[in-house]
Amino acid sequence: MTTVLQGIAFADAWRVMAPEMVLTAAGFLLMLIDAALPPAAKRAGVSTGVALIALLVAGVLALRRFGQTAALGPGSYLLDDYALVFKLLFMGITLLILLLSLDDHGRAEGARGEYTYLLLFATVGAMVMASSADLVTLFVGLEILSVSSYVLVGLRRSSKSAEGAMKYLVIGAIASACVLFGMSYIYGVTGTTHLAEAGYTLFQAWDSYRGIVVLGLLLMLAGFSVKISVVPFHMWAPDAYEGAPTPITAFLAAASKAAGFAMLVRVFLYAFASHFPEWGGLWVGLAAVTMVAGNLLAIVQRNVKRMLAYSSIGQAGYLLVPFAVLTGAYHGGNLYQDMSALYFYLAAYALMTAGAFAVLTVVAKHARSEDVDAFTGLFRRSPLLAGAMAVFLVAMAGMPLTSGFAGKFFIALGAINTGYYWLAGLMFLTSVMAFAYYFGLVRRMYLQEPYGPAESWRTPAAAALVVVVALVGTIGLGVAPGVMMHSLPGLNWFGQ
């Protein structure tokens, strides 16, 4: 496996990883701008503008690659539709987050250059994770995302922010170490860091090195579980979410989690597919525990950010279902169906999360509080915000007419199809449990009058744009899920 060290022509690299290259270049450019420009100019939102342009360019480049397959090295870094759909998702989320970070006058909040370029680097890390089919690149991508996120969480000048960042860093680093340690075992047994080759070797080596392979697998499973905040590896999430600047919280909940799933599916499908029955059940169990615990813990929260954090843990449980039930998918068709269901829900969930956090950002700014009380009587202060928030909450609860319902429907179909009736039932049961806190907030917004005078709250244009985009997406995907669901299963997922 010396190929990693071989030279790679720029043209090949450009073909496979053009979007990543554009974003990385933009990130470095921003670093230079940040150092060179006087503070007054920095406040003018130049950096956000550059970042937005870079994202758009990268997005167009990614769109043009659909249907193609290529690889760098002997398949260490892949260009396939699986990677592309995830990359588009990450870039879309980052775009929304950047918009959300602008304040009333189009300036970046806090106006710190590092905010923007760290966000870009984090996006690049996530994109690397989606494309990697090699343990080394995978680990590097994971760390680019993680390290950038640690800093982003700690950017607010508050004690809570630093505390959240510290907790995130410690738990995240432990998880990384677990992943790395597990990877080292897999490398040791197979003699390769390349996932597909490792999978081929493991097919035979599984029984001869059973103990060490299972140990490696479990360590990686634990590490990944931390990254996607699956119960019982979720403890960092509420603290990091609460401490982080709100747009970053949205980024963690949407993009970071999606990247975790992209990596998880790639690794387990490529490397461990031959022995599905041995570990499939573990994920089923984790999915079940996660949706119950996440939704239960969300009920008792009073800080809206923490509530959304626990709710996002519960959502991670739903997202695990299509992956977990792959155990029963004996032929390709089902695999693509389940992948489509997973991706559909990820996209739907990213939109509602971005929207909900956008509303929270505006409300928290006006009320100077993230407590549920800040939402009391919101319909009097801002009908747009209250209505949009209600739609996002109802979508998270999985009510019809929203993307949340369609997404859960596809996931449940996959579960039923593979015989996991109870898992499908549990999904709907926990959704009803979740009514308790989602509708608790809806009740505050609509059924109670605001405390104090009901002055109306203005929504900054950029935040309003994010809310409207998320609203259109959430309702659009709920009314016409076919738009996405019909094209996804036909994608050239893994370049076969």
């Binding site: 496996m1 010396t2 990693v4 060290l5 343990l135 080394v136 680990f139 590097v140 760390e143 993680s146 390290v147 640690y150 800093v151 700690g154 508050s158 004690s159 809570k160 630093a162 505390e163 959240g164 960042a165 510290m166 907790k167 860093l169 410690v170 680093a173 432990i174 990384s176 170490a177 677990c178 790395l180 340690f181 990877m183 080292s184 075992y185 490398y187 040791g188 047994v189 197979t190 003699g191 390769t192 860091t193 080596a205 509420p238 603290d239 609460e242 401490g243 813990l297 008792v300 923490r306």
Partner: protein, 102 residues
């Protein structure tokens, strides 16, 4: 040459010590050191496999180089956050990080 088993055992022991330290120690600096220990245990594994594994090759050492770089970045960020925290609270004790619970 020592058999690979002893290297693996050493790495496993180091990893466990690191994990124990990271989860139980109260001083953040010790916690960061423990994490470093875990990462280095993994590196030891990689190097051992790369020399003495079933199909020994250089990829493990390359992997090790990458992970050392990454570990350095991680700890640097950890220390930076620790400084920010220390400015706020004058303490490096985990028990003082209690603004948020549940």
């Amino acid at each position: 040459m020592a058999p690979i088993g002893s290297f693996l055992a050493l790495a496993a022991i180091l990893f466990c010590i690191g994990l124990y330290g990271a989860l139980t120690k109260r001083n953040i600096i010790i916690v960061l050191l423990s994490i470093e220990l875990m990462l280095n245990a993994a590196n030891l594994n990689l190097i051992a496999f790369s020399r003495l594994g079933v199909s020994a090759n250089v990829a493990g050492q390359v992997f090790g180089l990458f992970s050392m770089t990454v570990a350095a970045a991680e700890v640097a960020v950890g220390l930076a956050i620790l400084i920010a925290l220390y400015r706020n609270r004058n303490s490096t004790d985990v028990r003082d990080m209690n603004l948020m619970k549940w």
